[in-house]
């Protein structure tokens, strides 16, 4: 245990250093010696490495070392693909003793660089842990390996008339373990709540290799600290999630959607109140798109536009989706709502359109979901995924636009559009600044301006995308010094050597 003692000795002196806010010493790189150890309990195909004796060409590891946007690049030499929790435990234990950094990786679909190494950490891919462990069609509780792909779980529970409580664009490649580790949001959050509620239990390999088995299937369990919550959204900095127990809701039998055109942003909140009250349990989405975002979506062919007459005088649009158990019931409720909205003395809406078929249903959604793609086609986007109070959505967008104007950056030469869209139901605004090109002037005008605005509203600088490597510097805009200090204490308690996903979440 020579290596262990050496490592421990260093970590003690380290802790003293850290008290003076100095950096952790560098972690060790993987060596052939380490590979030989891994080979003792992992099959040869589970070890991908550029080091001998495996000696793969470096490009074989590209898909693990880079994120899908090509924005973050690691230089790891070794990817391990364990098949069992026991193997994960062995790997982590060894890395802890040897002070080797570990990046747990799921589908690698994140937006903030949380799943790629910052240097040459070992990449621990969960892809081979992809078995469903159990499903109870009565309670709807699903227990699965962390590496199960979200879509395959959706397909697994579908014949039992259940759906996953989470749905997002990356569902075909993202893994449930990664979803949980990043506390992913997505399209069903308004209806089914966040993963903090739907995840019933976790199996986690702690940074010293211990297996923390909290894989319970209980809806109620008030027995002391709820440790699993710590790992939901920790982005792999406290341990490796290897198994997930999650509550799946019954599949809705009918869905409808409608786009409403509003004369003023001021009407969004009163409208949300009415819609929530009248639709109650069948309301499954309430999405907001401002006029500029709508125009961009239409310009770039995302979904079929409403007629000119319908969009005339609209300052923004709202997409309402319902899903419920009985079509007639839902349609009647929706029809009543729409009638009362149109016939109100002071109508909150100008007009709107109601999908008449699944094709139109998809087309209306495309107008909202297509904004992301339209923005990329229009120019170079600066994207901010923020949580702010609903009442300030427009203020934040307009304020940012005015701020850029005052800096002389608004116009075809620099920033073309400032747009807002997002999940009103979740208080989550996507603030996008579409520029002609990425420039330091725009960057400096936006940051820390946007973060300061968010902080002034006590909002969140990252509503659903996480912190990863991208936003560690901005964490303090959303979390107080006390909060961050305690987060660091928790991190040190679980992971004294700092091997788990180094450089992520906390600086």
């Amino acid at each position: 245990m020579l290596s262990l003692s050496r490592c421990t000795a260093r970590s003690i002196s380290l802790r003293a250093l850290r008290a003076h806010h100095t950096q952790r010493p560098p972690l060790n790189s993987v060596t052939e010696h380490d590979l030989a150890h891994f080979a003792k309990f992992l099959d040869p195909p589970a070890i991908l490495s550029t080091l001998p004796p495996v000696s793969l060409p470096a490009d074989e590891l590209d898909q693990f070392n880079n994120d899908w946007m090509g924005k973050y690049h690691g230089s790891s030499t070794t990817v391990l693909k364990p098949k069992t929790t026991q193997q994960v435990s062995e790997i982590v234990k060894w890395c802890n003793e040897r002070c080797i950094g570990i990046v747990p990786q799921g589908g690698n679909t994140g937006l903030v660089g949380g799943s790629v190494p910052v240097k040459d950490e070992v990449i621990l891919s969960l892809a081979n842990m992809n078995k469903v462990r159990s499903f109870d069609p009565v309670s709807g509780i699903l227990v699965a390996d962390a590496g199960c792909i979200l879509q395959s779980l959706t397909d697994y529970v579908a014949p039992h008339n259940h759906i996953m409580p989470i749905d997002l664009g990356a569902k075909g490649s993202c893994q449930i373990g990664g979803n949980v580790a990043t506390n992913a949001g997505g399209l069903r959050l308004l209806r089914y709540g966040s993963l903090h509620g739907t995840v019933l239990g976790l199996e986690v390999v702690l940074p010293d290799g211990t297996i923390l088995d909290q894989l319970t299937t209980l809806r109620k369990d008030n027995t002391g600290y709820d440790l699993k919550q710590l790992f939901i959204g920790a982005e792999g900095t406290l341990g490796v999630i290897t198994g997930v127990s999650i509550l799946t809701p019954p599949a809705p039998q009918a869905s409808n959607n409608v786009i409403l055109a509003l004369p003023s942003f001021k009407n969004v909140l009163p409208l949300y109140e009415i819609v929530k009250r009248q639709l109650s349990e069948i309301l499954s989405a309430f999405e907001f798109i401002d006029r500029t975002a709508y125009d961009l979506a239409v310009k770039h062919g995302q979904g079929r536009a409403l007629s000119d007459q319908e969009v005339e005088g609209a300052e923004c649009f709202v997409l309402v989706e319902t899903s419920g158990g009985r079509r007639e019931h839902d349609e009647e409720k929706l029809a009543d709502l729409l009638e009362s909205l149109l016939e109100a003395e002071k109508p909150l809406i100008n007009t709107g359109v109601l999908a008449q078929s699944p094709a139109q249903f998809a087309s209306l959604w495309a107008l909202r979901e297509g904004v992301t793609e339209a923005v990329s086609k229009e120019g170079k986007p600066y994207k901010y995924d923020i949580s702010v109070p609903l009442s300030t959505f427009q203020e934040v967008v307009d304020g940012t636009r005015e701020h850029l104007r005052s800096k002389g950056l608004l116009g075809d030469h620099a920033v073309k559009h400032v747009i807002g869209y997002g999940h009103v139901g979740d208080g989550n605004l996507h603030l996008n600044i579409v520029a002609e090109s990425y420039t330091p002037e725009i960057q400096d005008a936006l940051e820390p301006y946007v973060y300061e605005v968010v902080a002034s509203h006590r909002g969140s600088v990252s509503a659903e995308h996480g912190i990863g490597a991208m936003k560690t510097h901005a964490l303090h805009y959303s979390k107080s010094d006390v909060s961050i200090a305690w987060m660091k204490k928790i991190k040190d308690l679980f992971d004294p050597h700092g091997i788990m996903n180094p450089g992520k979440v906390l600086e």
Partner: protein, 266 residues
């Protein structure tokens, strides 16, 4: 003396409630048909027909006197009529058949439409309907109706221009390798192809108005039509499962496999 008024156009649009095209079709275990307990909507080609009727009115303004939608179907087919009314049709006719009745065959549908056209006081100058329904894909109703009435037909239309004064229409048809432009006199049967137009959304005020628009109801007996099927469905089956490819070790094995499959060099 006032000039004699130009003959105003009355348009009839037959529409059908069909299983929505986005639904995955499942054959029932008895192999007699498919599961109908799924989302239905207006047959997409009929939706194009309704849209075209409305666009003709938008172009010709008051020269279009009426747009009437007609459907034959179970009580739920009323939803489909409401959609047509919400899009812009003025009134509608529902020939109601029992929920469990088999879908009427094209000849019976064409005869029904013939009867309905006969009963229209102001006559019908133009019938626009889908070239086929996506559930049975038979694609004959328009042609049969033209035959029964002895009217000209312009099938698979991708462009329709009506000249009310001359009482004629110029229609571009989709044919192999391009378009064919034909001139027809009214009254006329037009069947729609995909490229004719893109149907609009039904706006909320129009959906509300549609609830108050008239729906005239008939039973098959009222019209003297017999919907007893003339065809017998022997069996409905899913297409065979696609078999995935396999990997070969070397060229020799590939050649052997090709020979096995009866493929040889010419």
């Amino acid at each position: 003396m006032r000039p004699s008024p130009v003959r105003l156009l009355n348009i009839l649009v037959p529409v059908k409630r069909a299983v929505d095209y986005a639904v995955k079709i499942r054959v029932n275990p008895q192999q007699t048909g498919f599961d109908l307990n799924v989302k239905h909507s207006m047959n997409p080609f009929d939706e194009i027909a309704v849209e075209e009727a409305i666009r003709i009115r938008e172009r010709l303004k008051d020269a279009v006197k009426s747009i009437k939608a007609v459907t034959i179907g179970p009580p739920k087919a009323l939803d489909t009529l409401r959609t047509a009314l919400a899009m812009g049709a003025d009134s509608s006719i529902h020939v109601e058949i029992p929920e469990s009745a088999p879908s009427p065959e094209p000849l019976a549908v064409a005869k029904t439409l013939q009867e309905i056209i006969k009963r229209q006081k102001d006559g019908v100058d133009l019938v626009i309907l889908g070239k086929q329904s996506i559930d049975d894909d038979l694609g004959m109703t328009g042609q049969m109706l033209a035959g029964l009435l002895g009217w000209p037909q312009a099938t698979f239309a991708s462009k329709v221009d009506i000249d009310v004064a001359k009482k004629e229409a110029v229609v571009t048809r989709e044919i192999d390798g391009g378009g064919e432009e034909i001139r027809c006199r009214l009254p006329l049967i037009v069947t729609t192809d995909l490229r004719l137009n893109e149907p609009r959304y039904a706006s909320l005020p129009n959906i509300m108005k549609a609830k108050k628009k008239p729906v005239e109801k008939f039973s098959p007996g009222d019209l003297g039509i017999d919907y007893t099927p003339r065809f017998e469905t022997l069996k409905v089956a899913e297409p065979p499962q696609r078999v995935g490819g396999g990997k070969v070790q070397d060229v020799d094995e590939l050649v052997a496999k090709l020979k096995e499959a009866g493929i040889t060099a010419a």
